[in-house]
């Protein structure tokens, strides 16, 4: 029991929590942008898979790490464009298209992987992003180590939250995005195209999801393997609801969730096999469902979420 509490006061635990949170932060911000503009993006799981592969493969074929991140983002944006084309101007079911995008993106990734690396048994490794301790700050016990001795991609994740929050709440474009998700006719009345705003939001959001996937292959691990996203995308959708569509709250949710995830791995080690390990692995998914139940009653969905917009229709 004491051991279980001691974990919380080790720096390595919090370092792991922030590392586990990073891909979730990117993808959660991506989903948040889409939903704030009124589009549920269920392509997230597949788009993260594409990002994980695209980033890793760029580096594996000789590109540098930041080029890999950029390629991942572009690949994500392309799938975002496909999703947006089908769901925004054509107004097709966001559920069906989203699942379709996930199936397509995942299978295309696996196909490309097999094509590029036909005869590999162990996934090849790349030289991933290395931790970049911030001088001074990283010396603060526990908190400093956790926050300031991470890889550059983690710092980018935190910066992304600040940028998303600033754009959404402090810029005209952010106002238009939020209005497109709440009251699209008001946006159109301002002479701004709802279609344009929504498509742009889905593309940017999808690019962030892909960078979240790329974090896994380029910072958390150093290779790509099948089914590595493992439901993280769906968890991010739950995190957006949990964070009531606000970047700051969603960030907090992601860190809480990741801390819990890091904690269950360590509990697993000290439990000594009394409890089957699968019970620990189930916890993150069960926790996501629990979180949804807790916030569902007071959740205020963007009013136009999942409602296609047709110009001139009311």
């Amino acid at each position: 029991m004491e051991q279980a509490i001691e974990i919380l006061f080790t720096a390595s635990f919090w370092v792991a929590a922030i590392r586990i949170a990073s891909p979730l932060i990117f993808a959660t911000m991506g989903e948040l942008i889409c939903e704030r503009a009124g589009v549920l993006n269920l392509g997230i799981e597949g788009i993260m898979t594409v990002g994980a592969f695209a980033g890793w493969f760029t580096v594996y074929s000789g590109g540098d790490l930041w080029t890999g991140v950029l390629i991942a983002a572009l690949a994500g944006a392309m799938f975002g464009l496909l999703h947006a084309t089908l769901t925004v101007p054509l107004g097709l079911s966001q559920h069906v298209v989203g699942i379709g995008i996930t199936l397509l993106a995942t299978s295309l990734t696996y196909f490309t992987y097999r094509l590029a690396l036909p005869q590999v048994t162990t996934p090849p490794k790349i030289e991933p992003f290395q931790p970049l301790p911030i001088p001074g700050l990283s010396k603060i016990p526990i908190l400093g180590e956790a926050l300031f001795s991470q890889t550059p991609l983690t710092y980018l994740a935190f910066a992304t939250v600040a940028i998303v929050a600033w754009v959404l709440y402090r810029t005209p474009i952010g106002l238009a995005v939020r209005a497109a998700g709440e009251n699209p006719s008001a946006v159109e009345a301002q002479g701004i195209s709802v279609t344009g705003i929504r498509m742009g939001a889905v593309m940017v959001g999808s690019a962030l999801m892909a960078v979240g996937g790329a974090f896994l292959t380029m910072s958390a691990f150093n290779s790509f393997f099948f089914e590595m996203i493992n439901g993280r995308g769906w968890i991010c959708i739950a995190l957006v609801v949990f964070g009531s569509w606000r970047p700051g709250k969603a960030l907090l949710g992601a860190i809480l969730f990741a801390a819990f995830d890091a904690y269950q791995v360590r509990l697993q080690q000290i439990s000594g096999g009394v409890v089957p390990y699968q019970v620990f692995l189930m916890m993150p998914y069960a926790l996501s469902i629990l979180a949804l139940i807790l916030v569902a009653r007071r959740a205020t969905y963007p009013k136009a979420l999942m409602i296609p917009y047709q110009k001139g229709e009311r």
């Binding site: 054509l90 696996y110 196909f111 699968q278 189930m282 047709q310």
Partner: protein
């Protein structure tokens, strides 16, 4: 741009767009085949031959179509009421669990009693599994898409726990697999010595029953009304929440039969690779069938044919068999677009 409803699409238009969707799907997959350094024509020929070129191929396609009919039906009835059940994969595995729990000797009954009991118990388990998300949706407003998706992961871990624990085969040399079901719990083969089993017949009967429920009963009418417009349905006196519960029970039960039929008819035991994503492919099957239960039979055979054909093709032509999944996902997206375009005209101003 905007969409305008077309007055009454002619037969030509109704056929034109779905055909165009197939052509576009083939064109896109051709590009991938070319990227793999093979000739599209020979690859498509090999896929078709592998799917339907011989008695063996045809039987294999029907065998693979069996679980897809069940999961396709599960999705079709749920989506009709706009209950977004993406958890057919989990319900399938629960059906498999119930089949090995009851079928490995716990109930020493003759076949004609044991098999119906296992079927009913499997359906009940699958139904209850989907009832959870349905209750969360109606009572608390929790989106069922996310809960059913997350349950897929939880249930798979649960099955893994059982297979390494209480359900582990003592003779399994340490593999995480269950014991084989007893002979009385096995569905017989339709043709001696071939893999096609009576699960296929049950699947076709299930499709017919689902079609009757959807088209000829009050419940089916209510499900369609709820799916079309819940507010209007509620205003018309339809108990929306209760209809959604019944839909969940029906859908979860159908998906669980996929697990039952795979274990009892084909595999004999439960393993962690019982389903290569049949639950997710069921979504494609249902959409290609435009949510019509009878159409599900045809679209399941079509999708199964692509999977079986691609497996055979990849052995000879060296194009990765993942091309099948790409093709099926592309077909889903092009087909929903095509169906929209038969009903609406796109105006660019």
């Amino acid at each position: 741009m905007r969409l305008e409803p077309k007055p009454a699409p002619s037969l030509g238009v109704t056929l034109l767009f779905p055909i165009a969707a197939i052509v576009v799907t083939l064109l896109i997959t051709s590009l991938l085949v070319l990227a793999a350094g093979a000739s599209p024509f020979s690859v498509f020929y090999l896929v078709a031959k592998g799917a339907a070129g011989s008695q063996f191929a045809l039987l294999e396609t029907l065998t693979r179509a069996t679980p897809l009919i069940f999961t396709g039906l599960a999705v079709a009835v749920a989506f009709r009421a706009k209950l977004w059940n993406i958890g057919a994969e989990a319900q399938l595995y629960i059906g498999g669990v119930v089949t090995v729990v009851l079928g490995t000797g716990a109930l020493p009954l003759p076949s004609y009693l044991l098999i119906p009991i296992i079927m009913i118990a499997s359906m009940a388990a699958g139904a209850l599994l989907l009832l959870g998300p349905a209750v969360l949706k109606t009572r608390f407003g929790v989106d069922e898409v996310v809960t059913t998706l997350l349950l897929n992961f939880i249930v798979l871990l649960f099955v893994s726990m059982l297979l390494e624990g209480v359900l582990k085969d003592p003779m399994g040399l340490g593999w995480p697999q269950s014991s084989k079901v007893i002979a009385e719990a096995q569905l017989p083969r339709i043709i001696q010595g071939k893999r096609l089993h009576y699960g296929f017949v049950i699947a076709v009967v299930a499709a017919i029953i689902a079609w009757i429920i959807m088209k000829k009963t009050v419940l089916g009418y209510e499900m369609r009304a709820v799916g079309h417009n819940p507010e209007a349905a509620s205003f018309a006196g339809i108990p929306v929440n209760r209809v959604l519960m019944k839909t969940a029970l029906l859908s979860g039960g159908l998906a669980a039969l996929a697990g039952f039929s795979e274990v009892s008819g084909l595999k004999g035991n439960l393993t962690l690779d019982l389903s290569p994503g049949y639950g997710y492919s069921g979504i494609v099957v249902a959409m290609l069938a435009m949510l019509n239960p009878l159409g599900v039979i045809a679209s399941a055979i079509f999708v199964a044919g692509i999977f079986v054909g691609a497996d055979a093709m990849s052995r000879t032509a060296g194009v990765p068999s993942y091309i099948a999944q790409v093709m099926v996902a592309t077909a889903l997206l092009t087909m929903v677009t095509a169906i929209l375009l038969t009903r609406f005209r796109v105006r660019w101003r």
